[in-house]
Amino acid sequence: MATLQQQQQRRDRIRLALLLTPGLLWLLLFFALPLVIIFIYSFMTNDALGRVVYEPTLNNYVTIFTQSLYVNAYWRSIWTSVLTTVICLLIGYPLAVFIARSPQQWRMPLLMLILIPFWTNFLVRIYAWQIILANNGIINGLLEIIGIGRLPLLNNEGATLVGLIYGELPFMVLPLYAAIDRFDFTLMEAAADLGANKVQAFLRIMLPMTMPGIVAGSVLVFIPTLGQFVVSELLGGAKVDYLGNLIQRLFLRANPINWPLGSAMAVLMMLVLLVLIMMYFRVTSEEER
């Protein structure tokens, strides 16, 4: 005979299962299944018409590792994502500290200011950046007036970076703000009281204690940046290939389209993400110790 406690535990488990089933089914159908399909496709062959031929091969992976077009795209995307993440962190941290240290009644308005751009469509905002950076755009107009002359601001990797940082910054600031807002600044006084200067107090106390925010923000910025293709197309002028652009092209526009190769690229991208993020967690959790 089950005890009352066991009975209750059983009932709780059944309820939990009922609550979770729809969500699990959804994930299985629309998340896990496509992943499996992509994984399988990545080992298939392509025919001249762009159709998937069910003939197992490792050629797709070989191509990616041997042709500089693909290798470079990986490096370029990783490097750009790292740069975007680091710059977002360097801008976002002081910004989050500033907001968290503002008088209570200012914090929400300031956070709203950061969020307001999200009320418009991302593409519209990126087009706005085109207008700002274009040869006959706002900045160049100003540069002309003050006599510096027009500079090629649009359609290069710098423009891509600017757009990425602009787009991702809120995803860095919000988790950082959450972490810093929870941080008790008395601890900084305690550190100073014990002989730590500002830098030491920051490195030993505030940095490790706000690390969850840093990790969350960095991951939130890094992941979408690695696979992005819109910004590099619209602001970078599609002059160089980023991972996202290549994958998008292989799936939609190449002649012939090549889903197996695109799938292999996507699978490798996920692997890269997994490895990088695990390394990142390892490093940051060590710092915390």
Binding site: L187, E189, A190, A191, A192, D193, L194, G195, P208
Partner: protein, 365 residues
């Protein structure tokens, strides 16, 4: 106790916008002293302490630590350590790491740090908890870690901002004694902030009473309790009977005052008062004596009627009405251990109260 001065405040003012948190405070704290800053909430105790620690700078005036003018010296370069009211332990570090922090900042060698941390934890009786995190400790244990973390640096002065405020009554009493004996052992000057007068009386060598940013009186617990220099101090420390009146003359050592209804009281004045000065007569309930009437009034005696009798174990608290607008509180120690309360004072009974003038004060303002 040596007579050299550990901390000196010279005419210190601290303003926050329109608020004057600390108002022209002059104060000398001696080396090795257990010194308390006592006052009601918002009177400027924390502000004073924070200025000594260097977290705030005085709006005017100067602060000296062992004769050295502190000026704008930042907190990490001042020879003082603080025990915060919230303890402010570093939650991501173990107890040992917390205690080691100050020594690491001073770049002490590793083995010496280990030795001193061990000693400090022994001092506060926390050996064995080195590897715990602060959140795994009870309030009293956290309090001790905060203490060890500060003391391990051998500061010239230890500043404590209501360190016992978060503890329950019993633990608080225990820690009071422990803190006091710890201070005696390490010989470091303690500046202790509290709004609990009993705590200040038990622990301190000297007490400074503050109100509204002003320093009202500095003295030993006995001086503060027995000879408060103003109405506020008499009221804030312990309980007392206040009777307002005006000075009508002197009688030997005593100053005589008269109430509007013509009663006369005699007591000690802390400063010479001219006739006609409005004053407050103050006598502590335990100093008033209660007698059975026997026909004539003794010197300093007044006839009255017992109103209430409250037995509270160690004392009996009696209220006596002396006329239709005045009552006097009297505390009698229950030295005559008797279970038969019928033997004792009864409400409605006639009685005579005696106010010995040596234990009564005449306070101006």
């Amino acid at each position: 106790m040596s007579d050299s001065i550990a901390i000196e405040l010279r005419d210190v003012v601290k303003r926050f916008g329109d608020v004057i948190a600390v108002d022209h405070v002059n104060l000398q704290i001696r080396d090795g002293e257990f010194f308390s800053l006592l006052g009601p909430s918002g009177c400027g105790k924390t502000s004073t302490l924070r200025m000594i620690a260097g977290f705030e700078l005085p709006t005017a005036g100067s602060i000296l630590i062992h004769g050295r003018e502190m000026g704008i010296t930042p907190p990490h370069l001042r020879p003082v350590n603080t025990v915060f009211q919230s303890y402010a332990l570093f939650p991501h570090m173990t107890v040992a790491q917390n205690v080691a922090f100050g020594l690491e900042m001073r770049k002490k060698p590793k083995d010496e740090i280990a030795r001193q941390v061990k000693e400090a934890l022994e001092l506060v009786r926390l050996s064995g908890l080195e590897e715990r995190r602060p959140r795994q400790l009870s309030g009293g244990q956290q309090q001790r870690v905060a203490l060890a973390r500060a003391l391990v640096n051998h500061p010239e002065v230890l500043l404590l901002d209501e360190p016992l405020g978060a503890l329950d009554q019993k633990l608080r009493k225990e820690m009071q004694l422990e803190l006091k004996s710890l201070q005696a052992r390490v010989g470091i000057t303690f500046v202790f902030v509290t709004h609990d007068q009993e705590e200040a009386l038990t622990m301190s060598d000297r007490i400074a009473v503050m109100n509204k940013g002003k320093l009202l009186q500095v003295g030993t617990p006995t001086e503060i309790y027995e000879r408060p220099n103003c109405r506020f101090v008499a009221d804030f420390i312990g309980e007392t009977n206040f009777i307002d009146g005006v000075v009508i003359g002197r009688d030997g050592n005593y100053t005589v005052l008269e109430t509007p209804e013509g009663l006369r009281f005699r007591g000690l004045a802390t400063r010479p008062l001219s006739d006609g000065t409005a004053v407050t007569y103050s006598i502590r309930p335990e100093k008033v004596r209660l007698l059975a009437p026997n026909g004539e009034l003794p010197p300093n005696g007044l006839a009255g009627t017992v109103m209430t009798v409250n037995y509270i174990g160690s004392d009996t608290r009696i209220t006596v009405r002396i006329n239709d607008r005045r009552t006097i509180d009297i505390w009698e120690q229950n030295t005559r251990s008797t279970l038969d309360r019928d033997e004792y004072w009864q409400p409605g009974e006639a009685a005579v109260i005696v106010c010995p003038p040596d234990n009564a004060l005449v306070l101006s303002e």
